[in-house]
């Protein structure tokens, strides 16, 4: 269970295992980390396997839960010509897997003033003209570990359809896999990010209730009530808290 010390030492290795290459009946797999063979638990994640093999990660690890995109990994499998991509933190090892992590990959990021651009195709043309080099090969989509329709949102960007780019790229974690595979040398994740910002700022309908609340705050409507609450002793505050109604 969760309070056992071993949980933090070897997150990917099941607990029964005491020694690394011992005689335990646990299933092991051979993976080639940057070409070098290591025996690791067959059910480990790639990240777990790399650490199990003795590497102290500096690059190639971040949130470790599939949100930050730090651990982009490319691999091949025996007898298979394909290039596979995945996040090391959430992809399981396979026997014979040959893998390498991407420590960093250069990608152009346009510098712009969000207050001075418009949510239209001209902005895309100005900031990321290479988008129009897209040859619709769909490699970006195939390489996305989040299974996003990357090519579709790049096509939408070419049409200036900012809302679709926002929607399709929403779950993007900027791991960069699309960009390294793209023959047109597009940095898809930055195009998605630009479109989401344009949508949030210019295209989403504004909340009337929020505007009203901001007006109230400007007029200091709650200042008196705050003062009273802050003065209230703990006993009375407790009473108020436990008696409050719930929506």
């Amino acid at each position: 269970m969760a309070t056992k010390k071993t949980a933090k030492k070897k997150p990917a290795a099941p607990k029964k295992k005491k020694t690394k290459k011992g005689t335990s009946q646990e299933l092991m797999a051979t993976v080639f980390i940057m070409g070098k063979a290591h025996k690791v638990p067959a059910e480990a994640t790639i990240m777990g396997a790399i650490e199990y093999a003795g590497y102290q990660l500096k690059r190639g690890a971040g949130c470790r839960e599939g949100f930050c995109g730090a651990c982009a990994t490319v691999y091949r499998l025996p007898g298979d010509y394909k290039i596979y991509t995945g996040l090391a933190c959430t992809t399981l090892v396979k026997d014979g897997m040959w893998l390498a992590q991407l420590p960093s990959f250069p990608g152009q990021k346009a510098i712009y003033d969000i207050d001075k651009i418009k949510p239209n195709v001209e902005t895309i043309q100005m900031l990321y003209p290479e988008v129009f080099r897209c040859v619709a090969c769909n490699t970006c989509t195939k390489s996305c570990p989040q299974d996003l329709e990357v090519m579709d949102y790049i096509q939408a960007a070419m049409r200036g359809d900012i809302a679709t780019v926002m929607d399709l790229s929403f779950d993007c974690i900027s791991c960069g896999m699309c960009a390294i595979r793209c023959p047109a040398e597009i940095v898809q994740y930055n195009v998605g990010l630009l479109a989401r910002r344009l949508y949030g700022k210019y295209l989403s309908t504004k909340s009337k209730a929020l505007e009203k609340r901001l007006g109230e705050m400007k007029r200091n409507k709650y200042a008196k009530e705050y003062k009273e609450l802050m003065k209230t002793n703990k006993k009375d505050l407790k009473k108020k808290y436990y008696e409050r109604d719930t929506e």
Binding site: M217, Y226, D245, E247
Partner: protein, 555 residues
Amino acid sequence: MYPDYMSESLQKVTQSRNKRFELAKSGKAVFPPMNAEEREDVLNKFHPDYKAESRRKIRIGPNKGELLTTEVADILESHSRITSKLFDLSTPDYETDILIIGGGGGGCAAAIIAQQMGAKSIISTKLRLGDANSMMSQGGMQAAVTPQDPPTRHYLDAIGGGHFDNKPELVRALTEDGPEVVKWLEDLGVVWDKAEDGTLQVLHGGGTSRKRMLSCRDYTGAIILRTLMDEVRNHPEEITVLEFMPIIELILDHKGQCAGGVLYNLETEEYFTVKAKATIIATGGYGRLHIRGFDTTNHYGATGDGLVMAYKAGARLLYMDSVQYHPTGSVFPEQIAGFLITEKIRGAGGQPINKYGELFVFPREPRDVESSAFIRECLERKNGIKTPSGRVGIWLDSPLIEMLQGEGYINKQFPAMHRQFIRYGIDITKEPMLVYPSLHYQNGGIEINEKTETNIRGLFVAGEASGGVHGRNRLMGNSVLDYNVFGRRAGKYATDYIKKAKIGKLTLEHVDKYEKELRDARIKTDRVAPVLLPSYTPEDVRKRQLTACYEGTLR
């Protein structure tokens, strides 16, 4: 896929679901919420903080004699990586207006505000910009934006959730700035979940009396932080980002003001000095210290570095005896043990269910109470479900959400959660998840006031590294709000401060002094802190690394 032996229990969850659905739909409370006495009782008996060995007296420094979380006391009673004589501080390698330590949400927000007000800054970050817990928050951000929810109600919820230990002026700042932060983020381009007419979508969280949780699907943190990072990168002239370059000690001046810090290049292993008129610590929390041996929801770099350097420089800590365990960390499959399962699941109607298919606690108690109730259900009442690797957990019934909110809701609102489990053959629209509390948040931290000032002039703190905002228990959605509110405030007040600040002669003498305190207190340890990165190297590998020197958690 769940192993066969769990199918009997899974069936019981399915069997009780209709009845639970009817009750939830009726609008009545699905389970009676605990009163003050019941809360206290379950906390005292089952919260990990209340175990005798979970705290110990700190023997040196500003909080000397206080009981702190044991692992925190350990890293505070540690050696520095450096001594003052290694450095010539008369010619600093970098000079800037504001040194911002940490490239998460708080650091980015501070840099943006400082830039708008005309100050230059350096963001020093241990990993990449944005490698932070801010990136991982899923469920949402609290802010009082509906007519029935005045910000003062948010204040009451937050201070009650924190057991009335929160500093009132900080809770006021947190809740009063909330609506403005929503607007600020939207103006920067954050895409909030909304209805077509622009109404912001709000849900309940644990301990909220009004629906107040704003969200961006279940990628709330990722959407907000990537927006802030992008804005930071739009100002390369004013904001310098140094990645894989953590600050490992603060630099003071001869008047005791904070005046910068010492950088460590993780890759080339060089040290550099930064002179700054003001310094902001935004280093986040400490989940990777694995307090009490718990798994954690936290990112790789969450090792409490800011606490250590601030403490050595003389900053006071507040509530460093209090740890937050998130009620719903994953326990199955083993590969995702400890991973965060957003509280939004319960906000949307998901329920915690024991092995007999029974709801055993109100699903939205404050986190410490909810976690304690889960632990009681598993350890005392033995109503948990064992996993093949020996963990124990209870069900978090997500299919109920689809019944309550309509089919397709999970795919639309919880894409990250759905992805996390479908990889392992578990479809959370049809099957529940197995959960147990996971180490999540540092409730306390470096004491600040509403201007984010500390007891050291020129040192500001924002976000999880600070203490006082959340008392001894934070509510869901208040940390995303926290780093925005106090990150912005730190940027503002640090910029105000530098207009008048006069920095004297730089010194690292406090580091030597602290080392002497360790000796005088006869503390013998091989620990070195800041920890920087946790080590997951197996013991037998370590044994073969004959020339590697392990000190504490450091290689």
